[in-house]
Amino acid sequence: MADTPGQPTPDAPHGTEGNVTDISARRAAEALIVDVDGFEGPLDLLLMLSRTQKVDLRRISVLALAEQYLAFVEKAKELRIELAADYLVMAAWLAFLKSRLLLPPDPEDDGPSGEDLAAHLAFQLERLEAMRDAAARLMARDRLGRDVFARGEPETVGRVRRTQFTASLLDLMQAYARLRTKDEFRPFVMDRKAILTMEEALARIRPLIGFAGDWTDLSSYLPDGWQADPARRRSATAATFAAVLELAKAGQLELRQSGTFAPISLRKRGDDT
């Protein structure tokens, strides 16, 4: 590709070639404009436009191509066709490329030269076309199930494997039974060790409130083994508190707290039993 950069950038941008391109570009734009959706992105569109130049992609005039593309976008604007953002991004980039190709190189600018950019674009187009071509050749090969066929009635009894995993029907049914049994009493299982659920806290507190004739500190209801680890204690406290609120709402117990952050205590509602 090293030799291509010279090619795609015509020295006389608006020579005869430019005129021809103007016409073909307009025609192409008109033909293509109706079918923007049919293109798989700006590169695809560029590739299509490049075909109008009827030359080897290695010889393509990137400048002319840029003009064609810009004309296409202009036309789309005129027709008030909404172009996807990437088409506009490409247009902006091509406009930039065009200016780079037309203006004499600025020695101060250390960015890539217009020729480099053009060469890369030509490379991308060529590569995309090559892949399209390869795809077509691939799809045209003798294909299994269309052109060639496998044994229709394989006889292998058991596939040969290094390790064979087995399970009996009983295993399967037991596993399912196990799951469904679990399902019946544990609809939502959170198997996380450091989490006490509100349901668990409720289940624990319900039978206990009977004994809370007098004000008792909430913290004394935390289950055994949940006080030491801070994470567990936090979870247990929160769950227990939520459970207690729930019970208070149901009118089963009373709560009190003497001040912000003061301990919370609870007792059974007197009139309840």
Partner: protein, 234 residues
């Protein structure tokens, strides 16, 4: 070998139909029998081979050609098929038997797929109550006990899993519908081996057959109608 001059038989037919030479006919019969999922009748062969062909003769040649080979041409009722030579059947049965029990996670996942298919991974996780590792699914896929079914027409279009013929084979089931329902599981004492702690209420509102019924209403239920996802591959 292929164009060997066994063709003379053909000369009997005035070459009105220009049937291919017998060697070609033999190749054709060979290919058709090979690729067909079922034994093929002479009538079928006649219909599929070029006009004027003589499959009966081709079969005779073919049978001779495979005499003593690892594969033989056999007659199955009115039809013909290739079959492994009987003395080599041990090769078919041979499995490198290093059997290992499926892990609990795998068997549970498999059970859920079998009972609930087509089922998405999220649904499996919901039923199991814990995440399903990629490895578990992969293992079952690799064993070819499950395969990917249709995509669910819900947001995200998740893939579903269904059990395969291989699964049915292994468990000697005619279809996944043959799996015992919850009622039968309970009758067999399988459901009660871990009594629910809170007792009472579970017995009544058991997930019930009605729910079970659903499981297989989905027409994607078993392999059959929703054939292998891909193109020809297999």
């Amino acid at each position: 070998m292929s164009n060997d001059p066994q063709a003379p038989e053909n000369e009997l037919d005035p070459s009105l139909f220009e049937a291919p030479p017998m060697g070609e006919q033999e190749r054709m019969v060979e290919a058709v029998l090979f690729a067909s999922a079922d034994p093929v009748t002479i009538k079928d062969l006649t219909a599929r081979l070029p006009h004027g062909s003589d499959p009966t003769t081709a079969l005779v040649h073919l049978e001779k050609r495979y005499e003593g080979r690892g594969v033989r041409l056999v007659r199955v009722g009115e039809a013909f098929a290739f079959r492994t030579a009987p003395d080599l059947s041990f090769l078919m049965r041979r499995e490198t038997v290093e059997t290992r029990k499926l892990s609990r996670a795998a068997i549970e996942t498999l059970a859920i797929i079998a009972y609930h298919q087509p089922v998405t991974r999220a649904e499996i996780e919901e039923i199991r109550g814990v995440g399903v590792s990629r490895g578990t699914i992969d293992q079952l896929l690799e064993m070819e006990w499950i395969r990917i079914g249709r995509r669910r027409m819900t947001p995200g279009r998740p893939v579903t899993f269904v059990v395969t013929e291989g699964f049915l084979d292994h468990f000697s089931l005619e279809s996944a519908r043959d799996l015992p329902g919850l009622k039968e599981l309970r009758a067999a004492g399988l459901l009660d081996n871990r009594p629910p702690p809170s007792g009472a209420e579970t017995e009544g509102e058991a997930p019930s057959e009605s729910e079970e019924g659903d499981l297989f209403d989905g027409d994607a239920a078993l392999g059959s109608d929703a054939p292998d996802p891909p193109d020809g591959a297999r």
